[in-house]
């Protein structure tokens, strides 16, 4: 098995509507790793996830991103997804009139086709859906409903993880997956994510609060502030942040520089 990184971000600068948000991000993620990105509001956490997923609102002004050795920034969003990048949205949009089963089958088959694999027919896909319902509990009626339509916040987040289970990404970007979730929902979602961790994939968990990281235990924690990673550490860093707050880290990081 190759040891080369899944993701290699070098000096990434990005802006939105002319405003600079990311001011030189450097990050390397290897197979099997879970990296947490924490930071106060406005630090650029969601921007980072958005840039990696390919949101057109963000303009990359400098730097590069290599995904499995290829230039990620040159790929359309669908190409990134077909190659195994998955974004679990912070605010998943509703798609009234788009059947959930149809949608997921189209997504999976687009990925399989791009990888040179055979597409699944309706019967095989339905069997796969049922298998994946063991990873994270979603209602049976989900199969028949429109995507996210009428779902509560918690149900939408669970649906994101269910999609992740079906699509089996190589790099998952979890954008504030814990926002809006109560303690039980948090546990359900985290259990699902943990079941999907493997030695050959990787995850970036973007979060504002430490408590998610009690359930999805990261290998590395990075603190984002003012568009830069100002401190990195092991999982204990998250607990330090929780105890001391972001201001402490900012001062501490400034002193060290």
């Amino acid at each position: 098995m190759t040891n080369s990184p899944i993701l290699d971000i070098r000096n990434l600068h990005a802006e939105v509507e002319g405003k600079k948000i990311l001011k030189g991000i450097n990050l390397t993620i290897n197979p099997g790793e879970v990296h947490a990105i924490m930071g106060p509001n406005g630090s650029g956490k969601s921007t980072l996830a958005g840039v990696l997923a390919g949101r057109s609102a963000y303009e990359v002004t400098e730097g590069e991103v290599l995904y499995l050795g290829e230039n990620l920034l040159e790929m359309d969003p669908e190409e990134r997804a077909q190659k195994g990048v998955f974004l679990a949205f912070q605010y998943p949009v509703e798609l009234p009139g788009v059947n959930s089963t149809y949608f997921l089958k189209a997504a999976l088959n687009a990925r399989r086709k791009a990888q040179g694999e055979e597409e699944l027919d309706a019967a095989d896909f339905l069997a796969l859906m049922r298998e994946k319902m063991k990873v994270i509990e979603v209602g049976e009626d989900l199969l028949k409903r429109s995507v996210n339509e009428g779902f509560s916040g918690g149900e939408k987040k669970r649906n994101e993880i269910f999609q992740m289970a079906v699509l089996e990404p190589t790099l998952a970007l979890l954008d504030e997956t814990d926002s809006g979730l109560d303690i039980d929902a948090l546990r359900t979602v985290s259990d699902g994510v943990n079941r999907l961790r493997s030695a050959s994939n990787a995850m970036i968990v973007v979060t504002h609060y430490q408590r998610l990281l009690n359930h999805i235990v990261p290998d590395r924690v990075h603190v984002l502030s003012g568009g830069r990673i100002i401190k990195s550490g092991g999982k204990e860093l998250a607990l330090e942040l929780e105890a001391q707050g972001y201001d402490w880290v900012k001062e501490h990081a400034a002193v060290q520089e």
Binding site: A81, L95, A106, R111
Partner: protein, 438 residues
Amino acid sequence: MSSTSQPLETWLARFDTQTALLNGHAVGPVQAMRRNAIARFSSAGFPTMRDEEWRFTNPGPVANFTFHMEEPPSLTEEQLGLLGLNDPGTHRIVVVNGRIAAEHSSVGTLPQGATVTGLAAALASDPAGVAELLAGYPEYQTDQFVDLNTAFFTDGLFLRLANDVVLDAPVHVLYVSSSEGEEGSSNHPRSLVVLGRNAQATVIEEYVGLGSGRRFTNPMTEIVLAEGAHLNHIRVQNEGEHGVHVGSLLARQDRSSTLKQFTVSFGGPLVRNNTCSILNGEGAHATMDGVALARGTETVDNHTTLDHAVANCTSHELYKSILSERGHAVFSGRIIVRQDAQKTDSKQSNRTLLLSDEATIDAKPQLEIFADDVKCTHGATIGQLDDEQMFYLRSRGIPVDEARAILTYAFAEELIEQVQLPALREHLERLLEARLVA
């Protein structure tokens, strides 16, 4: 008012020679109706774009051409299967170029008090009785094309249910318009649906086309709902690139009756529907929904009228248009609330999805409110595909073109998924898919 033109003269001449062949007899109420209709048509002529009712739509494709009656070709069951809905659970009547094709029509066992037959047959068996039911709609709902249909109608559906009769199986009328020759062909089907008190039925009128010649379908459907009656009516237009279609559906409703009308138009050189209902008894309700698709240089023009003549009636309208290339749609929704129509509750909504820069929609809500204690809301939205929804689909690996097709389909699906009959719903979904992929 237009001056006499060659097409108009052709219609008048045709009336003289062909009227003898039509099912109206030389004397009798139907023949009198026809003579009055052609006289009115002759003096009014075809509309032009200077007429308010045709302000947004060029009647040229029908006004500037001559059409003759073309003998209906004989069709195979297989051909019909490819053209329209195939549901053995329906009572089916097939009309080809305005004439019923008995060999393809089959009406199953009917409950007592139900009559499902051709209009010509009904007129032949009870000329005075059936003629009396015809043309009871108010004058303001008629226009030149209703007059043209009255002058030239050949056959169509006659459905009558006695009080309390429930027709479980839907009635499906498949109108095939066919033309091969140099000269265009026209057909003028006419339907009459009369439901007694508390009677219930579902009627599907589907218009399809065959052949590469010019075709003009000019239908008229008249609906009479007695107290407490309930009618689901679905109209499907899929006549192809040569199908000019100008027709009307005129309904009148008594107390507590319900009309649910849904029109799906797959575009044509000129498609114009007038859909009207007059709510004449308290507690009546009308739903008028529609999906119109226009691409290339197609035009789909839906003019609706909901006349709240008395108090305590409700109405609900949702018309959606999907326009691509240089497709053009018109939605003119007229709501009249008469002076005595207190406690009227009416909602009208028009939504358009523009898939290109050249597509156009003319949306004209027209509210004429003369009562003071009413609830009338109306709204129109015009937009493109939602960026966030597009990104969501692409972020899951779905390519741009497929994502567009999925969201466009979803836009129409809001209405199509409400069709209760599974076979019809699937048929419409397949037609929609085929249209979006092409």
